[in-house]
Each structure stands twice: as C-alpha cells, then as structure tokens.
C-alpha cells in the first residue's frame, strides 16, 4: 500500500502540467488576494471557468493554488496599505502596517510569508492524516446519515454567517429551492422551469456563483469614489531573522492549532475568524500585550499562521463528507461538480489519484507562495498600483466570458446578471450570500439522500432520524441553532 502511494505521488509529481497550473493558480490567487476588494472567493469564482476545460486533477490543482495563494495574498496589502486584501488578513494590518511604517515592510512580509507557510503546511499534514481516519469511519454511512450530514451542514452555515439568524436561514432555503429547479432526476417532472427550455436541466452552478461573487462586487464598485492608494514605500530585506523566528515559533504552533480548529467546523466564517481568535489568544498569553498593535512580529505571525491553517481545516469536511464550510469551499465543491465528481469517502476509494493530486497541489502551492512571497513580493506590490476601476472592468469581462464558456450558453450570462443583482441586493440588506450557495449545493444532496433513505426504510421517517450516527448530526444541528439563541438571551438579561 505504501509503495503504491509512493508511486502514485511520484506519478503526480512527474506531470509538468500539475506544477505549471498549480503555479498559475498560486500566482493568480496571490494577485487576487492582495488587491483589496478582490477576495479569494471572487478569485476562485472568476478563474473557475478556466479549469473546466482542463483535466479534473489539473483543474483542481489550479484551484488549490488559487485558494492557498488567495488566503496568503491578503497580507501584502494589509502590510503595505493598511487595507487587508481579504477579510482573512484583517488582523495582519494591526501589526504589519506599523512595522512597515517603521521602514521594515520587508521584515513584516517575511514574517507573514513564513508564518502563512508554516500554518498552511501543518494544516495540510493534518488534513492528510485525519481525512484517512474520517474516511474509514464514514464508509459505514448510508443515505440516512448523508441526509443528516447535509442538514447539519446547512444549519451550521446558516447560523454562523450573517447578523440575523433568520436571514441566514432564508438564504439557505432560497438556495435549496434553486437546487430543485429543472427536471427531477427520479420522476422526470419539470420543476419551476417557468416554461423555459434552458432551465429544464437546472441552473448551472458557475453562473450563479459568478453573479453572486463577481458581478455583485462590481456593482458595489460602480460609483465608488474611494481615494486610490499608491505604494511608495521600499520593501527592503524580506527573509526573517533568527531572532524573529525564535520569538514566533510558539505562536506558529498555537496559531496553527486555532486555524485548524476553526477551519474544520462547517459554518466557520472562514480564515478571518481564525485570525481574530489567534491574535487575541496570542495577546493574552504574551508577556508584553501592550506591544500588540505597534508592530510586533507575534501579532503578524498569529494572524497569518491561523488564517492559512484554516485552509487545511476547511478542506477536511469538504473532502471527507462533501460538506463545504465557507464560501471558498462551496466554490471548490462546485468545481468538483463541474467535473461530475462528488467529494466524500467514496472518492477516496474510487479515485485516490485525484485526492492525492489535490494534496500534492496544496503542498506545492505552499512552496510556491513561500518562494514568491520571499523573492517576488515587490512585483505583487506593483499590482496594487493598478487602478481599481480597470481591474473591475477586467472582472466584468472575465465573468461574462466565464459564465458563457462553461457550457457555451449565452443564457448563462442572463443567469449571471440575475444573480449579480440578487447578490448585490442581499449584501445591501445584510443577508449573507454564502448560505444560498451552500444551500444550492447541499439541497440536491439532501433531497437525493432523503428519497433513497425513505425508499430503503419504506417511508419510515422515524427510522431515518433515529439511526445512531444520524441522531448525532441532528443533535449537532439543533445545538448550532439553539445555543447562540440561549447565549444571546442570557447576554440580554
């Protein structure tokens, strides 16, 4: 088995296109991540159509690069402009920018890069080890358990993202409804097609995603009169010194543990939450908490280690259970669906080459961004000088072409526009869009498994709900909804 695994990894590594597309993805991810306003989710949404015409392994390798690079890239603008490129890098600004204004921008980027590398790599090792264990366990699951898992995933995403719980739930239910549009796979009934032939095969995932994450962002940008920031500071020496490494190695371990822990929970608010928890933890255990916010290496290291460690954590439920935890993993599951692949335990058994290919690409992406961050961050800083409206116009063109190219259908552009407006309006009223996307993905999974389970148990819903593993997931789902309410009521008292 070990010999087989070794030869599998060697065969993946011997393919130049895996290296090349992972590098493209990482560079693209860093570029998108470092530009404020272009999030890693938007990067994946815009660049995902490029991967459709590639072989699944190569396409997913590129997306892994975008995910990893995008999560790291936010730190560059956080340090140089005090504007986090992605929400994940929000806590990097607190110490990164003060360090940069002292003339140590290179040192700050060096610490951020090495910390992101360490955190991310630890999380990928965690992913490889735990996914193997979880998969052995989940192979025992049947449709009833998978239905319960989908319900748990839907509840957790709805409750954690957004200001009002009810808005999150409405968003999820709307997503599930969208998933029902088209021909019912079991009975052939046409559901909610409004008489349109184009809707008979359902709505495609990519135009919805591009509309929600790409066009809605552009609409926000129209009429934005924000002052354009130009980078004028010199970056200087980037490689972190031995003293810096000595002072932050414990932070790396704590940050990685927090990042993985937060990332692994479906419904986590992404890398941003892990950065916040890690930063506050580091401040509370530090002998000099007063130095936080003035440009301390521990502050940068905590935020960056944790936000990149959440990448591996978030991939655990995605790859083993097929449950996306946040916007980016929802987009990644869409990429799997585009290639007719359903992540989960069976994929590990049926297509280990693809799974190990993703692991290899994730590790490669970390080495790529380490190299690029330490030796080419000056180039990425130059991208920040490109005016935002030009980038947004390019996003419009990429989005339009991407929506079309997925199935050579101009109708997809109409879908993209509709969901661009929907996403824009939802954001304006503070209704989260991620639950809608996850509802759209998990809804059909829940429906399909419920129907198969009911057939298996001859319509006995009680038996489906009370199966031991299912019950655990229903209790978790209930706890996720009830506990925050109880906590809120206690706080109000």
């Amino acid at each position: 088995m070990e010999g087989n695994l070794f030869s599998l990894i060697v065969s993946i590594l011997s393919r130049p296109e895996v290296w090349m597309y992972t590098l493209f993805g990482t560079v693209g991810g860093i570029l998108v991540g470092c530009i404020p306003g272009l999030t890693a989710a938007m990067g994946v949404a815009v660049l995902l159509p490029f991967t459709f015409h590639l072989e699944p392994l190569v396409g997913l390798a590129m997306l892994s690069g975008i995910y990893v690079g995008g999560t790291y890239g936010g730190s560059i603008s956080a340090i140089l402009l005090r504007i986090p490129g992605t929400p994940a890098a929000a806590f990097t600004t607190l110490d990164g920018y003060p360090m940069a204004t002292r003339g140590e921008a290179g040192r700050a980027i060096g610490i951020a890069t090495t910390s992101s590398f360490i955190g991310g790599l630890i999380s990928i090792i965690f992913l490889i080890i735990t996914s193997d264990i979880i998969v052995k366990f989940t192979l025992k699951f049947g449709p009833a358990e998978y239905f319960a898992i989908a319900i748990w995933g839907l509840c957790s995403v709805a409750t954690v993202t957004g200001r009002k719980l009810v808005f999150g739930l409405i968003s999820v239910v709307m997503g599930i409804f969208l998933g029902t549009i088209g021909m019912d796979p079991m009975t052939g009934a046409l559901r909610f097609t409004f008489g349109l032939v184009n809707l008979q095969s359902g709505i495609e995932f990519v135009p919805i995603m591009i509309g929600l994450f790409g066009i809605s962002e552009v609409l926000k940008e129209v009429g934005n009169t924000e002052i354009f920031h130009k980078i004028e500071q010199k970056i200087g020496k980037i490689l972190p010194s031995k003293e810096d490494i000595k002072s932050i190695w414990r932070t790396w371990i704590r940050g990685a543990a927090i990042g993985i822990g937060v990332g692994v929970l479906p419904g986590n608010t992404g890398a941003g939450m892990s950065g916040l928890i890690a930063y506050n933890t580091e401040k509370s255990v530090s002998k000099h908490p007063e130095k936080f916010g003035t440009g301390t290496p521990e502050g940068i290291a905590a935020a960056e280690t944790a936000n990149n460690a959440s990448v591996g954590g978030a991939l655990v439920p995605l790859l083993t259970l097929g449950i996306p935890g946040d916007a980016i993993t929802a987009l990644l599951i869409g990429a799997f669906m585009m290639h007719n692949i359903r992540p989960g335990a069976l994929l590990f058994q049926q297509n280990p080459g693809l799974i190990y290919g993703i692991f290899v690409a994730l590790i490669l992406a970390h080495f790529f961004f380490l190299f690029l961050g330490l030796w080419a961050s000056g180039l990425f800083a130059k991208v920040l000088n490109i005016p935002r409206h030009i980038l947004m116009a390019l996003v419009v063109m990429f989005c339009t072409l991407g929506a079309y190219a997925i199935s050579n259908s101009l109708f997809n552009i109409v879908i993209m526009v509709v969901f661009g407006v929907v996403g824009y309006l939802m954001e304006r009223i503070d209704m989260p869009i991620t639950p809608m996307l996850i509802g759209f993905i998990l809804g059909p999974m829940a429906e399909g498994n419920l129907r198969v389970a009911l057939k298996m148990y001859e319509g006995n819903i009680f038996e489906i709900i009370t199966r031991p593993y299912s019950l655990v997931f229903y209790l978790l789902a209930a706890a996720i909804i009830i506990f925050p309410k109880i906590r809120g009521m206690r706080r109000n008292k």
Binding site: I170, M186, T187, G188, A189, E221, H389, M392, I429
Partner: protein, 155 residues
C-alpha cells in the same frame, strides 16, 4: 434616500423580505400541484415533497421575521441605502444582457471589445487611449485563452 435606520423606524426591508418569502412559498405550493406523481411503490418521496417542505419552511421563516422584527421589534431595523450611480449600474446590467443577445450577430471580438470599452467608461476611466488599450489587449488575451488554449467555441 434611506428606507430604514438603526434607530427603529418601521422595518420596511424586513416586510419586503417577508412578502418575498410568502410569494415564493405560494408559487411553490401552486406549482407542485402540476408535478407528475408516480405510484407509491416506485416513489416514496415524490418530486413535490421537498419543494412543499421548502414552501412550509419559507412560510414559517416569514412568520418568524414578522414576529421578531415587526411585532416584537427585537432586531435592529435592517438598513437599506439605495446607493449612488444606480443609473450606471442599471446600464451595466442592461449592457451585459444586450451583450448576450447581440454577440452571436456581431461576433466575439467586436462584442467583447465593446463590452470592455463600455465597462471601463462606466467604472470611471477618463482616458480613451487607456480604455481602448486595455479593452483590445484584454479581448485578445481572452480570445487566445478561451479559443486557442481552452478550445472553447466562441460566438
């Protein structure tokens, strides 16, 4: 113009959301009547079961929002600012819809070039030279990537 504020004005936005939920629920419940039903032996859960469930949940969520937001006034009122440059936003959306209708006639390169020029101007680019340079290079780059590298058949 503001339709709501945080200091508990009437929650118009919540009311609109409630109405949307109920309208959608009514539409679902009306539509499922026409779905084909197979015999119970073949089909324990019909094509209408999950949509019905969605409709009932939407009705309940609408009620929840109605009670918590309008009757009890528990949540802070949802803000909704109409925002600036809505004409430009509408123009951009209309142009995108127009692009999908016109591009099969005028073909990919001229259509995408126009899309680039229009988007750049709407998003605030002043210089015509930059507008054309960026649009032409982006169009050609996309043509190369999609047509030559990814073998996508373009209109």
């Amino acid at each position: 113009m503001q339709i709501g504020q945080t200091n508990r004005k009437f929650p118009w936005v919540d009311l609109v959301v409630i109405l949307c939920c109920w309208v959608l629920a009514s539409y679902i419940l009306f539509s499922v009547k026409s779905f084909v039903r197979l015999t119970a032996v073949v089909e324990v859960v019909g094509a209408d079961t999950v949509p019905r469930l969605i409709a009932y949940v939407l009705i309940i969520l609408g009620l929840w929002l109605l009670i918590s937001s309008i009757f009890l006034g528990k949540n802070s009122t949802t803000e909704f600012e109409v925002g600036k440059d809505n004409f430009k936003k509408a123009m951009l959306l209309l142009f995108l819809l127009g692009y999908s209708a016109v591009v099969p006639i005028i073909k990919f390169i001229p259509g995408t070039l126009l899309l680039g020029v229009f988007s750049l101007k709407l998003l605030g680019e002043q210089s015509w030279k930059t507008t054309f340079l960026v649009s032409i290079s982006a169009t050609l780059a996309m043509y190369f990537v999609f047509h030559s590298l990814l073998k996508v058949s373009l209109p």
